[in-house]
């Protein structure tokens, strides 16, 4: 079972982390608001994307087979992996056969999910993360703390110190110089690695095209320089038509990084063709399930799979803003992490995640594909509770309490009487927001109890009625 409470406590007392989060998330929010406000039909775009995803997810098998057929027709190879293990084994075998000892990687959340880097290392293959944020995280032996901005938790001074230590950089706090150091180091890796591994943002079924969206050019280099390109893709990333990509890109890049379009949208149709001067001689697409078909089985919860990993729900979440990404102790953080983690693993494995939310609804408001995250959170909380009560066969006190509650709440008369009793008790024991009667006093030790209004709603309603 993943326990997140200790991490949350330590995140709350980490003042450097609090400052780093404030700096970065503040900048993102303002820029995003501006770039979304420019689009008159934003709502229509969200609805369109939602419809495309809903349709695709309910016909997933057909579209994946169409994608497979078209990728293979172009000379690519397609593999289906039930669990992460199978995907990893396929990649190791491929590397082993060609005696490949180093791979350049561009950002992939699925790669994090199946622990690709650790597993590659264990098998004697050196993985080099090439996205700057991911590279920083890798050098520091950490995990990403955000889906789109992996090194968000670090200040430039912290990054500089890391580069001085690991890469022998001359001390500086100039972002340009830090970045230039990364460019020089990583360019050498690009030119010497023989395999490039990338994630996939979209797989277009009708054309067999793999779409990789990025800003730095590291994915572009990963699919251009090495002799083998391996793309790892979660089953849910398939879309039927190329035309809809216009809508998805517009939503994704604005939401993720507040850009009208990202710098590079790589559209990959297999390996090098006859007559082309360079490019990989082999292309492999690894389709990974790893729990996704299980999520699909629930007609309500399956909308979790609509996610296009823009990361915007993290930025707007008051909980994420306060505790950062590492506290979730999971590949996926923030609201999407809170619903995805317990579903990809199981609610027994991640029972605390659905509760790491205030249910304010900001995540739903910003979601480009309109995933009802708050409702899913509630549904998952219900599952967690069901499991708990199934295990403990429920304490007698709790059972009686709930029976009494239900008896009171099902009759207006009983409700009114109980209300009056409770008010009288409250006036006797609660003063100035403090309840002095144990065990309730424990609850108000760190919170204030609101003062009771002089009249109840029912009383007010009656009076109002008389006046008008």
């Amino acid at each position: 079972m993943i326990e997140i409470r200790p991490q949350i406590r330590s995140a709350l007392s980490d003042s450097q982390l609090q400052k780093n989060l404030r700096v970065t998330l503040g900048k993102t929010a303002t820029a995003r608001q501006q770039v979304i406000a420019e689009v008159a039909n934003w709502e229509e775009l969200r609805r369109h994307a939602h419809q495309v995803k809903a349709h695709t997810i309910s016909r997933l098998g057909e579209y994946l087979q169409q994608l497979e057929k078209n990728v293979m027709a172009q000379g690519g190879n397609v593999v289906w992996a039930d669990a992460g293990r199978e995907a990893l084994d396929y990649i190791f075998q491929l590397a082993l056969k060609k005696d490949i000892r180093k791979v350049v990687k561009s950002k992939s959340m699925l790669g994090e999910e199946i622990r690709l880097n650790e597993e590659l290392e264990r098998n004697g293959i050196e993985p080099i993360e090439t996205d700057l944020g991911e590279y920083i995280v890798q050098l520091g032996h950490e995990h990403p703390s955000h889906i789109v901005m992996p090194a968000l938790h670090k200040s430039k001074e912290q990054v500089a110190a890391l580069f001085v230590e690991k890469l022998g950089m001359t001390p500086t706090d100039d972002c340009e110089k830090i970045t230039a150091t990364a460019r020089r180091t990583l360019r050498q890796h690009f030119l010497s690695a023989r395999m490039g591994i990338t994630g996939v943002n979209f797989g277009i079924a009708e054309t067999g095209t793999i779409v990789v969206v990025e800003n730095e050019g590291n994915a572009r280099l990963s699919v251009s320089v090495p002799e083998v390109h391996v793309a790892i893709m979660g089953l849910e990333k398939v879309i039927p038509r190329a035309a809809d990509l216009s809508v998805f890109l517009k939503l994704l890049t604005r939401n993720a990084t507040a850009q009208k379009i990202s710098t590079y949208v790589n559209l990959i149709n297999g390996n090098r063709r006859p007559g082309e001067l360079d490019g990989p001689s082999e292309f492999h697409l690894v389709l990974v399930d790893n729990g996704r078909t299980r999520i699909l089985a629930d007609e309500f919860l399956r909308q979790t799979l609509y996610c296009i990993r823009c990361g915007a729900c993290l930025d707007v979440c008051p909980v994420y803003q306060t505790i950062g990404g590492h506290a979730y102790h999971s590949t996926y953080q923030g609201p999407i992490g809170a619903i995805l983690t317990p579903q990809l693993l199981s609610v027994e494995e991640a029972p605390e995640h659905p509760f790491a939310s205030s249910l304010c609804g900001a995540c739903y408001e910003i979601c480009p594909v309109k995933i009802e995250i708050p409702h899913i959170l509630l549904k998952l909380r219900e599952k967690v509770q069901d499991q708990k009560s199934a295990r403990a066969s429920r304490l007698p006190l709790e059972r009686w309490g709930l029976q009494a509650w239900s008896w009171i709440m099902t009759s207006p008369g009983r409700y009114a009487v109980t209300n009056r009793i409770a008010r009288t008790l409250a006036r006797m024991f609660a003063r100035k927001g403090r309840n002095r009667m144990p065990p309730l006093s424990a609850w108000t030790k760190s919170r204030e109890l609101p003062e009771l209004a002089p009249k109840t709603f029912r009383e007010l309603f009656k009076e109002e009625g008389r006046e008008s």
């Binding site: 700096v23 970065t24 993102t28 369109h48 419809q51 349709h55 997933l60 098998g61 087979q65 078209n70 172009q74 593999v79 289906w80 992996a81 039930d82 700057l132 944020g133 920083i136 090194a151 430039k156 972002c175 830090i178 970045t179 460019r183 990583l186 030119l191 277009i204 054309t207 067999g208 095209t209 800003n215 730095e216 050019g217 590291n218 572009r220 280099l221 251009s224 190329a242 809809d244 216009s246 890109l249 517009k250 379009i261 990202s262 710098t263 590079y264 949208v265 559209l267 149709n269 090098r272 063709r273 007559g275 082309e276 001067l277 360079d278 490019g279 389709l287 399930d289 078909t293 699909l296």
Partner: protein, 229 residues
């Protein structure tokens, strides 16, 4: 093994279900009266450089500007087709230079372009590609909405030339400029001819350290688009 297991699971899940239909039309995308102006504004917004090359004189000035900015004396050209397609006044001194699989360079010792271009060729290999400063390729099309150009592979065109050099110049014909992304994605034939296409909007960028924008992290640091007739 897994292939049939996953497919079976998916088939069972979907059997009884009515799929919600795919939307039949795309939402509206913005339209512009002046495509060139829109393209220019958007390209400049992302730190790209727009150069008008719609006459031999303008073209010469554009290339001179690129050379001067980069303090370089040579340019690498993607293919011979580029000269004809973009009306570059060039009488090829060395037609051997454009044999398939060669890298073609023109020298500009005083950082001034003189037509005809003096062309040399090198074997096409990674070491040479990794060392060049300015690369020029021809954009298959442009998208005014976002100041984007489409670069593609093709016969005798690879993936590396436009991405390895720190300075890249894309030549774009006025007639290849499209209105918006909906127009582009509704008409593009992906996978028919080329193994790789890439939409490029401005120079390579990152904001991974404290959201501070830095250009040229992996791809070109300078990105020019020269518009031709």
């Amino acid at each position: 093994m897994s292939r049939s297991a996953i497919r079976d699971r998916l088939r069972r899940l979907h059997e009884a279900e009515q799929a919600a239909p795919l939307p039949s039309t795309l939402p509206e995308f913005p339209r512009y009266a002046d495509l060139v102006e829109q393209f220019k504004v958007e390209l400049e917004r992302v730190s790209g450089v727009f150069l008008d090359g719609r006459s031999p004189e303008l073209l010469r000035q554009a290339l001179e500007r690129v050379l001067a900015d980069a303090k370089a004396g040579e340019i690498y050209w993607e293919s011979e087709d580029l000269f004809a397609k973009h009306g570059i006044p060039c009488e090829l001194r060395d037609s051997e230079a454009f044999k398939r699989g060669r890298l073609v360079r023109s020298d500009h010792p005083v950082r001034q372009v003189q037509f005809p271009l003096n062309l040399h060729s090198h074997p096409y290999n990674r070491a040479t590609l990794a060392s060049l400063t300015i690369s020029v390729s021809s954009a298959a099309c442009g998208i005014a909405e976002t100041g984007t150009v489409l670069e593609t592979t093709g016969p005798a065109v690879g993936r590396l030339l436009p991405v390895l050099a720190p300075v890249h110049v894309a030549f774009l014909r006025r007639q290849d400029l499209l209105m918006n992304h909906a127009d582009f994605f509704s008409s593009v034939k992906l996978g028919d001819a080329e193994s790789y296409l890439v939409l490029v909007t401005g120079p390579s960028r990152t904001a991974d350290i404290e959201k501070t924008l830095v250009l040229g992290v992996h791809g070109p640091q300078k990105h020019y688009v020269v518009l031709t007739e």
